[in-house]
Symmetry: C2
Subunit: 260 residues, 2 copies
DNA sequence: CCGCTGACTTAGCAAACGTTAATGTGACAC
DNA sequence: GTGTCACATTAACGTTTGCTAAGTCAGCGG
């Protein structure tokens, strides 16, 4: 975990949402952060107790987990570059636990850094807002999925979303990516029972849509999975900007239509 | 629809989220708006085509409606004082249609007004942000409901939420409120079939939890409905501040911890 | 080598829910 | 009145999914 790693993860993610000048991105260079390694199913942030930090996810997956129903419900899943608890800057209570899916690495960043960041740069302020709005759009989409699709489509759609979001930050280059989830995790995210999640995954395998060995998942028929899921990546709000592996743009001068 | 009505609906809603000075609220007095009456199930904003206005809901209900599954899916419901498409200020595509549930009255407010508002008042900027974050929190809660509760609890929970949000803006004083929804509307919001929605509502009536005659719903056993639904209003982010009918606070000096 | 543990797998049964279709009911126009 | 329309209601039947329980398998520490 070399120095500056946390900085670049966030820079990539914010750049995927809106145009940022190198001047804006340089503001991230001074980001104070504490690196923390988290074990599988370990809770990072409890919904009680306020904190003075946000969690920037560097590696692995995090999720919001609510104790409800039989096995609880996962309401959101996050990939590297995301800051799941950004809203705690403005409103203290999260209403859920932030839990690691598989082992993960996070950077704790003081609230004050983000406050100063958005005070000093309208563009960065806008980018942070867009990150929260992307979260809202994703959450809306989960509502559609849970409300109107059956188990097979739900799981397929979730996997499409994860692959696409990973791709947006330069991971999952081909259709293979780290998948430390348990079947029960998938079940909790899709609102089905663990047993039925098992049936569903087997059906996806039977249709030759994916392979899942150990902690690596490979989507072997992306168009097929997309079709089955009815997946349309537009809601993710990532710009057409292509592969996520591109270096932060050179010295592109943004026209700076800043808002708030 | 007397003059200033639109202004006061928005002022009440924003005041329910955070402390605002009369100076801040006065900025709303100049709000330009076009009043529009909308018929039942009429579409207000299509997810294509960008607009230069936001919709402030003055009377009735609006919802985001996505064409998915058999009868589509409703992803959010809005009550008077809400501005459902506030995010279009920052991101053009809505990804769904904004549809009226029953007849409604809205005020079209130019984007530029909100832009100037948040530029001129950090407190108002924060209030608008909090309104979007409240939306996010509600959306998370819908995810929990759709993912982990059965039909009876889903409908009960939705009704609890609507009553509580109405109460927060001074409507539904006792437990009686306008309910122009069709059973199919409720079904589309709860992710169940219209037929099953009917069965569910009858069960709620049978348990003496509510009455629903014509376009008026009366919750006859609020504690019972809350218990059945597992409803905890904390996620709504409305302050303990009591009834919504209170006049805008006198000249309270906010400590102004403004952020962005 | 053994036992333990967590995760995955499989089967059988029951409950919740969807689908279809027919019927009922009230508002409204003519 | 009578037709029409949208909505509510009811019934019968089929499917999806949840639940329980048992069995398998790989890793891991003794």
């Amino acid at each position: 975990m070399q120095a500056g790693f946390a900085f670049s993860k966030l820079a990539d993610r914010l750049s995927s949402l809106t145009d940022l000048t190198t001047q804006d991105l340089d503001l991230l260079a001074h980001m104070p952060s504490t690196i923390v390694h988290v074990g599988a199913h370990q809770t990072v942030v409890r919904h009680h107790g306020e904190t003075e930090h946000c969690c920037l996810l560097l590696q692995g997956y995090l999720c919001w987990h609510v104790a409800a129903g039989q096995d609880g419900q996962i309401t959101s899943i996050y990939v590297p570059g995301d800051v799941p608890d950004l809203p705690t800057l403005y409103h203290p209570s999260a209403g859920a636990n932030l839990v690691a899916l598989g082992s993960a690495v996070i950077a704790l960043v003081p609230h004050d850094f983000f406050r100063e960041l958005s005070a000093n740069s309208p563009a960065m302020s806008r980018a942070l807002l867009l990150m929260m709005l992307a979260d809202l759009a994703i959450q809306r989409n989960w509502t559609v999925t849970l409300g109107s699709r059956d188990a097979l489509c739900r799981v397929a759609h979730l996997l499409c979303e994860i692959r696409e979001r990973l791709h947006g930050v330069g991971l999952a280059k081909d259709f293979s990516f780290s998948s430390p989830f348990t079947q029960s995790d998938l079940a909790a995210a899709c609102g089905i029972s663990p047993v039925h999640a098992n049936r569903t995954i087997q059906e996806l395998r039977r249709r030759n849509l994916l392979q899942w060995h150990g902690k690596t998942m490979t989507i072997t028929d992306w168009p097929g999975l997309v079709r089955l899921a009815g997946f349309d990546p537009a809601y993710l709000h990532t710009r057409p900007h292509g592969g996520g592996a591109r270096p932060p743009q050179p010295a592109a001068v943004s026209m700076g239509v800043e808002l708030a």
